[in-house]
């Protein structure tokens, strides 16, 4: 499967269907095991996830990028449960880039069917995307999919290794395999003799595993379902050099880049005379390429990072114009124009909305408009990558904290003119991802710069300013809502229009410029069209606003703003109908007991119905995203110098919970991430340039602002949901609704700090 096929998956559902027809045979084929290469070096590979050395070192290769969400622990636990080796005795390694580690679950988010839609068309489209993930070998970490995707294959990997170890023992001792058992890293014979896995590994790893292995019943689990200590915790509290930023190779050069601050604009001229005079500067090179959506710019290569940073400031450069309106106001006007005049598609269109409103009594109609700004990812670790092109130009090595290793591999191989089979991507730990590290810009530039220095590794580090002003931003979005309240106050018609630049189109321009995005982008309405609210007449319009600012995947994607839009509006409806927002939601959720249970649980936790503490007020919100049903209550307090967030309660139902400690940590993280955005984040433009350049102007919540966070996990849902993102969407509207309850002021525009002060 070459580039063309891989590239078609992004286009949309039509192309996905085509891809399956084209490559059906490929679905049945097992991808090559990248760990086979280790056989000579003492590791006996059982499958792409497990190796065991002769002296009993059991290694698990984690096929997803560890960016704080705990995959380097949870995915190891999946193997440990079946392999009968304690998690703490397993050597955890991050797997290299390889087609064998395809992610099929992440693709589910690409189909324009909500999580609740279990109809034939929705299910067959999901089945198709599962196959597509395999065919195209997309190894990626995103869409809160890692545990869901690994749940079956990694348990199976542990079980297969265990059974082949038993087979080897059975052969060696001429004992029937069903008389053998396994425990604590050894096969046990009927007489109690223990044969360590290491003593059997060489023979066992050469055997074909049985095909009829039954995975253990959850009622017998001893590892899964329990909180595991993180495998990477010791490294992270001792400052171990595990991040891309920490890569250090012999003879390494250090580089930084400076691209046009008008994103996508060209570099008209540059003069590096002063920069070249700086002691320690090795070269200043033009890294612009025609037709690249990132625009023009240059790199400084030096003996150390600081010298590169300093010299980059001395380059005299003339930047060209941006391909988008030059101010935030002009951009928002363009999005507003799409909202008012654009036509979109309807991922949800129940009943007959036009007729419902045509006959409506005006005093029963509620209307509101909302908007959110662009947002940066602002990962703690700025973008960086290290590349080494061999002296003969035949081999390329990349060290990077990437969320999309096989896409990075393909992109860098192409950039360097090296065959993909001679390109090797080593994935480091990631100092935050949030969707930013799915992008290819930072690995492509590292490769381009290293190409100028064959035989020498070059580490390219972006300054914080470069990182914040050259993101693929969470898009700005606007929406208009109207509801017709029924006699009991509950809406009988909802009409939502959502206008937003298309992430799909923008990403395609960056990853695969030879292709065009066609058709709708369902992520625009994600979190609005797919919620468990039953309303007789319900229409959601998904409208693409054509603005060329690069936009990308940001923790929870469309849910991050549609959660705010929809849940603020439901709150407005409740107040207009003089209903308790809890009762309003319970009524809307009447067909979804899982949703009702979550919101009732959080109401209990927060003592929702108890009299409010003087000076405090609570707000509620609910979002189903990435298969997880999340209800939250935020409590705020009025203080002399502004509003404080005092408590957050969260009830989340993701179905079966694999690691409660890590799940709670992820929800807590998602909540702080969402509240941070609401408290004061906005990316704005003047003269085509992003005005927020560092944490002094684009800050996030600090410890003194952080509320007490109370989390309970439910396990009612019948499908396993994700955990990395679903905490974020409801936190933002729950805060806005709490502020309305406290102050009577309805804030319909983010960030809230534009309208009020926070302590």
């Amino acid at each position: 499967m070459g580039k063309i096929l891989r590239r078609t998956f992004l286009i949309g559902t039509a192309a996905i269907a085509g891809g399956v027809a084209f490559g059906a045979y490929k679905v049945l084929e097992t991808p090559e095991n990248p760990l086979e290469a280790k056989r000579g070096s003492g590791e006996n590979p059982f499958n792409p996830y497990v190796t065991i050395t002769d002296n009993d070192v059991v290694s698990v290769y984690v096929p997803r990028s560890e960016m704080g969400q705990g995959v380097a622990t949870t995915l190891v636990a999946l193997v440990a449960e079946e392999l009968d080796v304690p998690v703490e005795r397993i050597r955890t390694l991050i797997a290299p880039a390889s087609d064998a580690y395809f992610n099929s679950t992440m693709m589910h988010e690409l189909v324009p069917f909500g999580h609740l839609d279990r109809g034939v068309l929705a299910q067959s489209s999901r089945a198709a995307t599962r196959a597509v993930g395999k065919i195209f070998g997309i190894q990626a970490t995103g869409g809160s999919s890692s545990t869901r995707d690994a749940f079956e294959p990694m348990r199976r990997a542990g079980a297969a290794a265990r059974e082949t170890l038993k087979l080897a023992a059975a052969e060696q001792f001429s004992i029937a395999v069903d008389r053998l058992s396994t425990a604590d890293g050894a096969v046990e014979l009927p007489d109690g003799t223990r044969l360590t896995y290491g003593s059997l590994a060489q023979a066992a790893s050469a055997l074909e595993p049985p095909t009829d292995i039954e995975l253990r019943d959850p009622s017998t689990w001893t590892v899964l379902g329990k909180s595991q200590p993180r495998t990477d915790m010791r490294a992270k509290v001792t400052g171990a050099p595990i991040f891309g930023m920490d890569v250090d190779l012999p003879d390494m050069l250090y580089a930084t880049i400076k691209m046009n601050p008008r994103l996508g604009g060209p570099m008209l001229s540059f003069n590096a005379r002063e920069a070249r005079k700086v002691r320690g500067v090795i070269d200043v090179i033009d890294i612009s390429r025609d037709g690249e959506p990132f625009g023009g710019g240059f790199a400084v290569v030096a003996q150390d990072t600081w010298t590169a940073f300093k010299a980059a400031e001395l380059v005299d450069v003339e930047w060209g114009e941006a391909p988008y309106p030059s101010t935030t106001d002009a951009i928002m006007e363009q999005i507003g124009d799409a909202l008012d005049n654009g036509s979109g598609f309807h991922p949800r269109n129940d009943g007959d909305v036009d007729t419902a409103f045509a006959d409506a009594r005006r005093d029963r109609v509620i209307e509101a408009r909302y908007q959110v700004p662009y947002l940066a990812h602002a990962t703690m670790e700025p973008m960086n990558a290290t590349a080494l092109l061999s002296a003969d130009g035949e081999r390329l090595d990349i060290w990077a904290g990437t969320q999309a290793p096989t896409i990075a591999l393909e992109d860098c191989a192409h950039e360097a003119g090296v065959a993909e089979e001679n390109t090797f991507v080593k994935i480091t730990y990631l100092g935050g991802g949030f969707g930013r590290r799915v992008e290819v810009d930072f690995v492509r530039y590292a490769t381009r710069i290293a190409k100028a220095f064959p035989g020498r590794p070059v580490k390219t580090v972006w300054s914080r300013e470069e990182d914040m002003t050259h993101d693929a931003y969470r898009p700005a979005a606007m929406s208009s809502w109207r509801a017709l309240l029924g006699d009991d106050g509950v809406p009988v018609a909802i009409d939502a229009r959502i206008a937003c630049p298309s992430i799909m189109k923008s990403a395609l321009d960056r990853f695969y410029p030879s292709l065009f995005a066609v058709g709708p982008d369902s992520s625009i309405a994600q979190g609005a069209y797919d919620q468990p609210y039953s309303v007789e007449n319900y229409r959601v319009s998904d409208i693409i606003a054509d603005v060329a600012v690069p936009v990308g995947i940001w923790r929870s994607v469309g849910n991050s703003y549609n959660g705010f839009f929809q849940e603020s509006f439901i709150d407005e409806c409740a107040h207009a109908a003089e209903m308790d927002p809890l009762d309003m939601r319970l009524a809307l959720m009447k067909d979804y007991p899982t949703a009702q249970a979550a919101i009732k649980k959080v109401a209990d936790m927060a003592r929702w119905s108890a009299p409010a503490t003087p000076g405090r007020a609570k707000g509620m919100a609910f979002t189903l995203s990435f298969g997880t049903w999340v209800a939250q209550v935020v409590e705020v307090e009025s203080r002399d110098d502004g509003i404080a967030i005092t408590n957050v309660w969260c009830a989340a139902d993701s179905g079966r919970v694999i690691d409660p400690g890590i799940c709670k940590a992820q929800l807590m993280s998602g909540i702080v991430f969402g509240l941070s955005s609401a408290l004061g984040q906005a990316i704005t433009f003047e003269d085509g340039m992003v005005q927020e350049t560092n944490f002094d102007t684009f800050d996030a919540m600090r410890i003194d602002q952080c509320p007490d966070i109370h989390i309970e996990l439910l396990e009612n849902a019948d499908h396993m949901g994700g955990m990395g993102e679903p905490g974020t969407p409801p936190s933002i509207p729950a805060l806005a609704n709490a502020i309305f309850a406290l102050t009577g002021e309805r804030v319909r525009s983010m960030p809230l700090s534009d309208s009020m002060d926070f302590v």
């Binding site: 960016m67 704080g68 705990g70 909180s227 200590p229 993180r230 990477d232 915790m233 010791r234 490294a235 992270k236 509290v237 001792t238 400052g239 171990a240 050099p241 595990i242 991040f243 930023m245 250090d248 250090y254 002691r279 320690g280 150390d304 990072t305 600081w306 940073f309 602002a378 990962t379 703690m380 670790e381 700025p382 730990y429 990631l430 100092g431 935050g432 991802g433 580090v461 300054s463 914080r464 400690g661 940590a665 807590m668 993280s669 998602g670 909540i671 702080v672 991430f673 941070s676 560092n694 944490f695 002094d696 800050d699 996030a700 919540m701 600090r702 410890i703 003194d704 952080c706 007490d708």
Partner: protein, 161 residues
Amino acid sequence: MIDLTINGEERSLDVDGEMPLLWALRDVAKVKGPKFGCGIAACGACTVLVDGAPTRSCVTPMETVEGAQITTVDGLAVGETLHRVQEAWIAEQVAQCGYCQSGQIMSAVALLNEVPNPTDEDIDDAMSGNLCRCGTYPRIRAAIKRAAEQNSAVKPETVEG
């Protein structure tokens, strides 16, 4: 040449006097614990102790730390024995991505050296300069309190400045 002591080891580094301590540590001395996050003392990921005082190494020129004692997160453990703050961080399972935690831990060590039993307000004051994008703050707070309890349970110890 600028002489200083890094985690108990005397070093002589051939660097420009204006080079921030952070980059001298990372790129020249190859001490990778302190992290680069912002370069303007706004995030705290680069926090180290300079003669015992918590310091943003990204804005501290090398010429100002001649002869100083530098302690980074890399130098907290004694052999295999972790510092009690590191132990508390593990017990509370604080870190997620972990990138900011070197700086968080150094700020916490400095706080506990100064205030053995910090109040929530003390923690806010000492720690609000350390950003965490994963939002681990509730666990950071719990870990500091745990380390403080450990501190009063055993003899107060001093950390090399």
